[in-house]
């Protein structure tokens, strides 16, 4: 290789490299946020805390709750009168948001029977407050709302150009970094943020079953019907069964 060839190589190589980086920047950005996702239902002795991952691009987002790797699943008590066993699901839970149609898809359950439920991000009507705190170095503004039986406080930042949030939360003019119910039942806090340049798309994990999706109203109607059925149920040995009126969200209003 003579000196001319080396000179040409040195000139051309950076041109190719930088032209590709520029193209990647202009194609699409993917936001990755890791959250700590915690649930402590009122009638259970301990909280369930898992990692959760939000992936967002211009068209959609997926929030994955990593219950499969829940290290908190441990045998906590086991006696004649009290027993709690640790136990893992076969798949993680996902919440998918279509940012074009504003639809939110999630799995809701009656007992253990799963239903694909379609919500809209308009389910959240926030009141934005003039209060701020810094989360992971981002100036975050306070907002409050009431959603299906619980009062929530959220902190969102406009310093990251994505309007989204963990779980179903959204419909704020920024990225939600922290949100919790005032009764301490449900709490989600961001602990890592990354923005990547990528051409990968975010696909709806429920795409094969989307024609089976039902509205929240249809789901809660089915839930009430099942609850009423169980009120009249008696096992041959006198036992009764019931399903709760609410989990994170209220299924049956008092």
């Amino acid at each position: 290789m003579n000196v001319n060839n080396i000179f040409i190589f040195i000139l051309i190589f950076p041109l190719i490299l930088f032209s590709q980086i520029k193209e990647s920047n202009s194609s699409s950005e993917l936001l990755l946020v890791k959250y700590e996702h915690s649930i402590h239902m009122e009638n259970l002795p301990t909280a369930t805390t898992v990692n959760a991952f939000l992936r967002v691009n211009k068209y959609g987002s997926i929030y994955e709750m990593d219950f499969l790797n829940n290290s908190n699943f441990q045998k906590e008590e086991d006696s004649e009168s009290v027993a709690i066993f640790a136990i893992k699901p076969k798949v993680n839970d996902f919440i998918y948001k279509n940012l074009v149609t504003k639809d939110i898809f999630s799995i809701q359950r009656i007992g253990m029977k799963p239903f694909l439920v379609r919500d809209s991000d308009t389910i959240f009507n926030w009141t934005i407050k003039n209060e701020f705190e810094y989360i992971l170095g981002y100036k975050s503004q306070k907002a409050t709302t009431t959603h299906r039986g619980r009062d929530y406080i959220a902190y969102f930042t406009t310093e990251i150009e994505f309007n989204n949030g963990p779980w179903k939360f959204g419909n704020l003019p920024g990225l939600i970094l922290k949100v919790f119910s005032e009764d301490d039942v449900f709490k989600i806090v961001a602990n890592e943020i990354e923005i990547r340049n990528t051409e990968n798309e975010i696909e709806n994990p429920y795409i094969d079953n989307i024609d089976k999706s039902i509205s929240w109203e249809a789901f809660t109607n089915a839930y009430k019907k099942k609850s009423e059925e169980l009120k009249h149920y008696r096992s041959p040995d006198g036992g009764v069964r019931s399903i709760p009126k609410r989990g994170i969200e209220t299924y049956i209003e008092d």
């Binding site: 190589f9 051309i12 590709q20 239902m41 009638n43 259970l44 004649e80 009290v82 136990i87 990968n200």
Partner: protein, 99 residues
């Protein structure tokens, strides 16, 4: 030599275009959302009844209650509640090994 240099530049460019990391979840959520196992809680109410609670991913899914007066005592009620919860777990495709 020039050909080798050109091939190298072309190959490098091709690799750069195809080396984006895949971050899209391909997990398909279908109907079979059955689980291996569940959280399981057994509790009793002031010597009157015993309730076994089945939870999944931190939320209560179903409860099974047996009354002492109908079960020949609280101990029997608790045994029946526990058995009913285990049968429910099995009916949902769960694994009750060790429960």
């Amino acid at each position: 030599m020039k050909k080798i240099l050109i091939l190298f530049i072309l190959a490098f460019g091709f690799m750069s275009f195809t080396s984006n990391e895949s971050v899209t979840s391909q997990t398909s959520i279908n109907e079979d959302l059955s689980v291996e196992n569940f959280d399981f809680k057994l509790d009793y109410i002031k010597d009157i009844a015993c309730t076994a609670t089945v939870t999944y991913n931190g939320e209560v899914r179903e409860t099974f209650t047996f009354y002492a007066s109908q079960s020949g005592g609280l101990a029997n009620a608790c045994t029946r509640a526990r058995t009913a919860a285990l049968m429910y777990i099995l009916s949902q495709g769960g694994d009750t090994t060790g429960l």
